[in-house]
């Protein structure tokens, strides 16, 4: 591992106006193993929503890096996150995505655990002739290193030696607030699992969520359909939420319609101007939101905004609101679990509209995501080249990037590290740099 020098993978020279990423970062198997231990298991990652374990004894399962994780709510209502593995032989003690269990019984030898993680019984313990060492062991489920909640969003870290959750989220928390503030009753996930895989590196997904440059190139087939729907306005077809905006069309105008913010710890958001209009499910709450939060904050709630909290969660607010969890499986294989994230107690009509927009756009069985998957795979093929290792995909916008925030971020009291805004053709790529700087920080222990 002596040749694992970070300069081989990331060429970050701000003074020279250079930021480049190597193709090896997307395809090297040794690097991938280190990413699992240091990026995914070495710091904060998103686990799920508190609504996934709403009531006493509710639980859900997930995976952090390679580690199976169990999140439970005990009978008093306290949420905890455990390694989903029996201390005895290592078996997963919960194998369903979610459920309700006052007692978890290991399927292998029936060791049992309360929803608080406490070991309730080691089968036939008294007859087991155990030695002193076993008796001294703690048989409870092992809590992961750190666990925390911010407004219904649950995060955890396998490693305990990390900054507090508030510090990890930093100023990006304002973007979670814009989602959480949409309902006094909080957020929930629409029932219905949607999972898919693509044969490419997880960082393709990380980047694409905040890539405003690709839309008109990767999705012209969808745009063709949207244009026809706009012309024909059929009753049978749900109106696209994008029909009320121009930022994605790539028209050459001077208006500032889109931009991005970079935050500490690798979080970024891209935004596009969208006016509150009836094609958005949230429109029914506009007046109440303006009254409660003021016009500027309410306007932000209607903007397109694709948020990534490094390294594994994205909240895409454009056609409805999608929660995406990235799970890397191999250097060239990634699994995505995606959810329709909704404010509680919206009207039946708003919910219906939101779900229809969501399915059409965000499902792998819809009209957009499969094309993203395909282009990731095309990129992955090209990541094998080492003769021309440096990619040229992190450079747009460099000359327009400003330190700190701008008037729009100030309007909601948000202070990003860097900001950029401009026409729909600006399509900033410099925000990706934040991903790779945080990647470098988390990998710092193993990369020289």
């Amino acid at each position: 591992m002596n040749d694992m020098n970070v300069a081989k993978f990331i060429d970050d020279r701000p003074d020279a106006g250079v930021f480049r990423v190597s193709r090896a970062l997307f395809s090297d198997p040794e690097l991938f193993a280190l990413e699992m231990s240091h990026v995914f298991e070495g710091g904060w990652v998103f686990l799920g929503m508190s609504s996934q374990a709403e009531n006493p004894h509710d639980f859900f399962t997930t995976t952090v890096g390679r580690v199976p994780v169990l999140v439970t709510r005990d009978k008093e209502g306290t949420l905890r996150a455990f390694v989903n593995s029996c201390p005895h032989k290592g078996a997963r003690i919960a194998s369903q995505p979610s459920g309700n269990a006052g007692l978890f019984v290991c399927p292998y030898h029936s060791w049992s655990f309360a929803s608080s993680g406490e070991c309730k019984a080691v089968k036939w313990e008294s007859a087991g002739s155990y030695g002193a060492g076993f008796k001294q062991d703690d048989h409870n489920l092992k809590e992961i290193g750190r666990f925390g909640e911010y407004r219904g969003f649950l995060f955890g870290s396998i490693a305990a030696d990390v900054a507090p959750l508030e510090e990890y989220l930093g100023e990006a928390r304002h973007m979670l607030d814009l989602a959480a503030d949409q309902s006094d009753e909080g957020l929930e996930l629409v029932p219905g699992r949607v999972r898919f895989t693509f044969a490419a590196n997880w960082k393709m997904q990380l980047e694409n969520c905040s890539d405003q440059y690709h839309f008109t190139s990767t999705h012209p087939s969808l745009i063709k359909v949207l244009e026809r729907r706009a012309r024909e306005k059929s009753e049978a077809v749900v109106e696209s939420s994008l029909s009320g905006a121009d930022f994605w069309k790539g028209m050459k105008t001077d208006d500032i319609v889109a931009g991005s913010y970079s935050f500490e710890n690798g979080h970024v958001v891209t935004w596009g101007k969208m006016e509150a209009n009836p094609s958005l499910a949230l429109f029914e709450r506009r007046d109440a939101l303006v009254e409660k939060f003021g016009p500027e904050r309410a306007a932000w709630m209607f903007n397109m905004r694709n948020l990534t909290l490094f390294p594994n969660v994205q909240i895409a607010v454009n056609a409805a609101t999608q929660l995406r969890v990235i799970r890397p499986l191999a250097p060239n294989l990634t699994e995505m679990e995606t959810w329709c994230l909704v404010p509680r107690n919206e009207s039946a009509e708003a919910r219906r509209q939101r779900i229809r927009q969501y399915e059409d756009f965000f499902n792998p069985t819809g009209m957009a995501i499969a094309d993203d998957n395909a282009v990731y795979e095309e990129c992955q093929a090209g990541m094998a080249d080492r003769q021309n290792a440096w990619l040229q995909g992190h450079a747009r916008g460099l000359a327009a990037t400003a330190q700190g925030g701008d008037a729009l971020s100030q309007a909601i009291g948000m202070n990003p590290q860097r900001s950029i805004s401009g026409t729909s053709q600006l399509a900033d790529e410099t925000l990706f740099q934040s991903y790779y700087r945080e990647w470098t920080r988390r990998m710092g222990e193993v990369l020289a």
């Binding site: 219905g192 087939s221 059929s234 049978a236």
Partner: protein, 165 residues
């Protein structure tokens, strides 16, 4: 007008499958009524299928043939990176059971496997499950008024479009 017979039901299902395999999408759309339901529910976490498409997520939910026309437009546009070279698809439909048959309408349940070979990636995928077809007799022709696809393997590798389910 007579009620739908078992051989007729099988023929309609086989014909739909073959039109999809042959990429004869215009003829495929012609098999549907204008207000047809095309629905592939998602699975809940408790291993049951979603049942209320207005409150729960579906993998695909359309009411109205126009939506299927949109899907065909996109699929055959040549502008979709994943669909530029369409997969070669083979549907196998079996276990056909005629459940309800009058002169006006019929319900037919069946099982399917759709194999797909993607020339872009040289990958083979296979999706399988059950169909519920509703048929309506319109001007002497049996048309599909409802197609519900209960997809058993719902972890989607890269893509799954209307031509391969």
């Amino acid at each position: 007008m007579t009620a739908l017979s078992q051989p007729e039901a099988q023929h309609l299902l086989f014909r739909e499958a073959r039109l999809l395999d042959d990429q004869a999408f215009t003829a495929w759309l012609d098999m549907y009524t204008e207000d047809a339901l095309f629905w592939m529910p998602a699975w809940r976490e408790d291993n049951t299928l979603t049942e209320d498409p207005d409150r729960e997520l579906s993998l695909i939910y359309y009411r109205g043939k126009e939506n299927l026309r949109d899907r065909v437009t996109r699929l055959t546009s040549g502008l979709s990176p994943v669909s530029k070279i369409l997969p070669r698809v083979v549907h196998l439909v079996g276990n056909v059971m005629l459940e309800e048959a009058s002169e006006a309408q019929a319900t037919v349940r069946s099982s399917f496997v759709a194999h797909a070979y993607a020339p872009r990636t040289d990958r083979v995928t296979s999706h399988f499950g059950h169909y519920e077809h509703g048929f309506a007799q319109v001007d002497g022709r049996w048309l599909i008024s409802r197609k519900i696809i209960l997809l058993a393997n719902d972890l989607i590798p890269t893509v799954l479009d209307v031509n391969a389910i």
